[in-house]
């Protein structure tokens, strides 16, 4: 069992693989994530990044390998258990509740932190703690002005913000962010980048992003994936200078 309390490693993947039939979407990835660090995962489309995050958040079970989070073996854990342990997730494809209001979306996320929701008698909205956590999440994402608006009626950018707010409302220690800036304009994107910078002071962030400016602005560590394989991990400087990475990925970016 991984003993991670000596180092600063909060999440460790050992020999992690995921196959779909003959396709190895994630191929033997060994990766440690340090606590309190913003660790970005980059790579071309189809590199296996989202599959990798799905393995971390429990939506997929690995075919091989182990995942450890602070001494817990998460390899076979279901998504709800992983969330309860303190790992939060936001999705690339907006995954909110369109028929609920903005506040309701954060509410149900926040309520998950109660010891149990098998409560039948008192009205849910009487719980102050849940309400405060939900509202705080809305404030952080600048959505506090619109609690009663239906999520379906929000703009795409606002929905992306709500996506992150829902994750924040579960008070996670480790945040998995799958392309948080996807489809956002530069102004809204800048707000999210600021938010992530703030969160990075007190949380650990694992980030998949294609927006290289954002990545270079906030990431401490970078990992590059291609075809399911982890090519290299290092600081932003190291990755930028790495020949192997340039050929595989960034080179394509510069000529594009």
């Amino acid at each position: 069992m991984a003993n991670m309390s000596d180092n600063n490693i909060i999440l460790r993947c050992q020999g992690l693989s995921k196959s779909f039939g003959a396709l190895k979407a994630v191929n033997n990835v060994d990766l440690d994530f340090e606590s309190g660090v913003v660790h970005a995962i980059i790579g071309p489309n189809g590199a296996g990044k989202t599959t990798f995050i799905n393995l971390l958040s429990g939506e997929l079970q690995p075919t091989q390998g182990q995942i450890y989070f602070k001494d817990h073996d998460l390899t076979k854990a279901p998504p709800n258990k992983i969330s309860q342990l303190g790992i939060g997730r936001s999705y690339q494809k907006t995954n909110i509740f369109p028929k609920f209001t903005c506040l309701q979306n954060c509410w149900i996320a926040s309520q998950s932190r109660l010891k149990t929701s098998m409560k039948f008698f008192k009205s849910a909205h009487r719980d102050r703690e849940v309400m405060e956590r939900a509202q705080r999440a809305l404030e952080l994402t600048h959505l506090a002005m619109k609690p009663e608006i239906l999520a379906a009626n929000m703009s795409y950018g606002e929905q992306r913000q709500l996506e992150i707010a829902m994750m924040l409302a579960t008070d996670p220690e480790l945040m998995l962010l799958d392309e948080p800036l996807a489809g956002m304009g530069s102004e809204e994107g800048a707000e999210i980048i600021e938010l992530m910078r703030d969160l990075a002071k007190t949380h650990t962030l694992i980030l998949i992003e294609h927006d290289m400016d954002a990545v270079f602005a906030i990431a401490d560590q970078l990992s590059v994936m291609e075809n399911g394989i982890l090519l290299e991990t290092g600081t932003v400087q190291q990755i930028r200078n790495s020949k192997a990475v340039q050929e595989a990925y960034l080179g394509e970016e510069e000529t594009a």
Binding site: E59, I108, S112
Partner: protein, 330 residues
């Protein structure tokens, strides 16, 4: 989760008032009919919790209705006196136990599998009562007496009086209604509605969704058992058809007729269907074809049931007002 709008609240209060007043003027036949409607309404509300709020389409809900009924018949059918304080819990507990087992087997699946599993498991119960000689098979069982509602040696209600039974049922209907409103407003209800909307997301937010679905299933089954108890106590005659899949199909029709995902919709649906089933046969022997076509029309044109009409009806006067104001201001 949905707040009940003021117009609907008003409508429900008026309906309650009507229900309270009716027996004093109504014909005995109609009082009995209304009692039947209320029992069906309780049965339908229990299914709405499952289908409308949790999003689990069950085609076997009648099994729990029938188990509640048979629970009464088997243990108390031959007695001349028995207490409701014993009989009702027995029925409900039996239905609850069945729901725990059926739920455990079914909820591991979803989609078409779930629908078919609930149907097939209900059929199992149906055939058990149909083929067993012990419970008279298709001939059915009879109740010798109505349950006693006593407090010590004082009789609180005489359920053999049709009017008393009516009010007793009305009381239970209101209680079940309020119970459902309460649990749906509680944290449990929030999770359930979330599961209906996007189960995967609810799970990733940290909820053990299988457990919540299972609990919802058991609550729904127990309330169906309560309805079955009432039906058995009311008519005094219990047959395996209580558990038949036509019964399950019928109650699903009631829910969609009235309006899915509203607590009061099933009550409207119960009124509509029982009245249809009672009066259509007078028009034609082959009334089931008419009923079938009505259901087809509801599914195609009014998928949110009769209760969705209320929104449309109230919008008309407000639209008229708005046009009037605009012409005057313009």
């Amino acid at each position: 989760m949905q707040k009940i709008s003021k117009p609907v609240q008003l409508f429900l209060l008026i309906a309650l008032g009507f229900a309270l007043w009716f027996p004093s003027v109504g014909d005995e036949f109609y009082v009995e009919l209304l009692t039947n409607i209320m029992i069906i309404a309780i049965f339908a509300m229990s299914l709405d919790l499952l289908v409308g709020y949790t999003g689990l389409v069950s085609l076997g809900h009648a099994a729990f209705f029938g188990i509640g009924a048979y629970g009464l018949a088997i243990f108390f059918g031959e007695m001349n006196q028995f207490s409701i304080w014993v009989a009702l819990p027995v029925s409900m507990i039996l239905a609850a136990l069945a729901a725990v087992v059926v739920g455990w087997i079914s909820i591991r699946t979803s989609g078409i599998y779930f629908i078919m599993l609930t149907l097939a498991l209900a059929q199992m119960f149906y055939y058990y009562f149909f083929e067993s000689k012990r419970f008279n098979g298709d001939d059915g069982m009879f109740m010798n007496a109505k349950p006693d509602v006593n407090f010590g040696s004082i009789q609180l209600m005489d359920l053999s009086n049709e009017h008393t039974f009516y009010y007793f049922t009305l009381g239970i209907l209101v209680a079940v209604f309020l119970f459902l409103v309460m649990i749906l407003r509680a944290p449990f209800g929030q999770v359930i509605t979330g599961i209906c909307a996007n189960e995967q997301r609810v799970r990733s937010l940290g909820y053990a969704t299988q457990r919540y679905k299972h609990v919802s299933f058991v609550i729904a089954g127990t309330l169906a058992g309560l309805a079955g108890f009432l039906e058995a106590a009311h008519t005094g005659f219990i047959t395996p058809s209580y558990l038949g899949w036509h019964e399950s199909g019928n109650i699903l029709v009631v829910v969609i007729l009235g309006g899915l995902g509203t607590i009061y919709g099933p009550i409207i649906g119960a009124v509509a269907l029982v009245l249809l089933e009672d009066f259509l046969p007078d028009i034609t022997e082959h009334w089931k074809i008419v009923l079938g076509m009505i259901i087809v029309c509801v599914v195609l044109f009014l998928p949110n049931g009769i209760s969705s009409l209320s929104g449309k009806i109230f919008r008309i006067p407000s639209r008229i007002m708005k046009t009037i104001f605009r012409t005057f201001r313009g």
